[in-house]
């Protein structure tokens, strides 16, 4: 049976070491908003033009299926670009365990550790490398491939929507963020 995964989202203050969010949910979709509370409705917490969203600390959790090896993870914005004056920033590619984004209590300040410009839809093949580990997105020990059939977690796949003063009011287009992987 094939490996499958769910998206999960960490929110709230930092807890533990390495840090993770106090709340972990399994959303079917997410919205960038002026709040770090998972249950806050985005329309009640709009991002004022010129300001930024709180970070969205997503990750993938492989929960079901049997697989011997999982590898070649990639993460990218793959469909529907943003309008002018909106910039989506995201995590850098994993090249070492220390490359992973470390959880911080979400805020609306521009996160300088989100270096990749994800505003434009790109081919998934030029997305950033994602690594996997058996403990949690925050944990050390991530590797490009894992030889196990138990639960696996990606590193944090964090994004932040940054806006300029000229950003138009209203909802953004709905965009697609893709997590791709190989399994055998």
């Amino acid at each position: 049976m094939a490996a499958t995964f769910v998206w999960q989202l960490d929110t709230g203050n930092t807890t533990g070491s390495p840090a993770k969010g106090t709340t972990r949910t399994t959303p079917t979709d997410v919205n960038w908003k002026n709040s770090g509370v998972a249950t806050d409705v985005y329309s009640s917490y709009p991002i004022t033009a010129g300001n930024n969203s709180f970070q969205l600390a997503l990750h993938g959790k492989f929960t079901t299926g049997t697989f011997n090896n999982i590898s070649a993870g990639l993460f990218a914005h793959t469909a529907t670009s943003f309008a002018a004056n909106l910039t989506l920033k995201g995590i850098i590619a994993m090249t070492a365990d220390a490359s992973r984004w470390l959880y911080v209590t979400p805020s609306a300040a521009a996160d300088t550790n989100l270096t990749v410009d994800m505003t434009t839809a790109i081919a998934i093949g030029s997305g950033v490398a994602v690594w996997f580990g058996p403990t949690g997105p925050e944990a050390t020990g991530k590797a490009a491939n894992q030889n196990t059939g138990v639960d696996q977690y990606t590193n944090f796949l964090t994004t932040q929507l940054q806006t300029a003063a000229g950003a138009a009011a209203g909802d953004t287009a709905q965009v697609t963020l893709t997590l791709q992987y190989n399994e055998n």
Binding site: A79, T87, A109, A110, T115, D117, T119, G125, Q162, A164
Partner: protein, 103 residues
């Protein structure tokens, strides 16, 4: 007031372009690409060295992106001529577009 210009790699253009520097309402440094209008933000109160380091990290992290738009443009250039594809829309009003269940 003269524009304050900085040359920064643009992820959208995939080359270094001139960016106009300004401040956001919260004091963050905004760099707006003069070619495509893409805006980059840097923390309020960033020093020159921190700024240059962040600009360098930005370039390293964003070189080599292949946009969906550029792929579609390439495919269009390779094609003989544009061909209009007629979409077949199933007719659900009279049942003809609904598959019969397989026994």
């Amino acid at each position: 007031m003269d524009k304050i210009i900085k040359t920064i790699f643009c992820a959208n253009e995939q080359v270094e372009t001139t960016h106009v520097l300004s401040a956001s309402p919260s004091g963050e440094v905004c760099a707006t690409c003069e070619v495509c209008g893409r805006v980059l933000k840097f923390p309020a109160g960033v020093s020159r060295k921190e700024f240059d380091d962040l600009v360098a990290a930005h370039q390293e992290a964003n070189q080599g992106q292949v946009t969906v738009e550029s792929i579609e443009k390439t495919l269009a250039e390779l094609a003989d001529a544009p061909v209009k594809v007629k979409e077949e829309v199933p007719n659900f009003t009279d049942g003809s577009g609904i598959d019969e269940p397989v026994e």
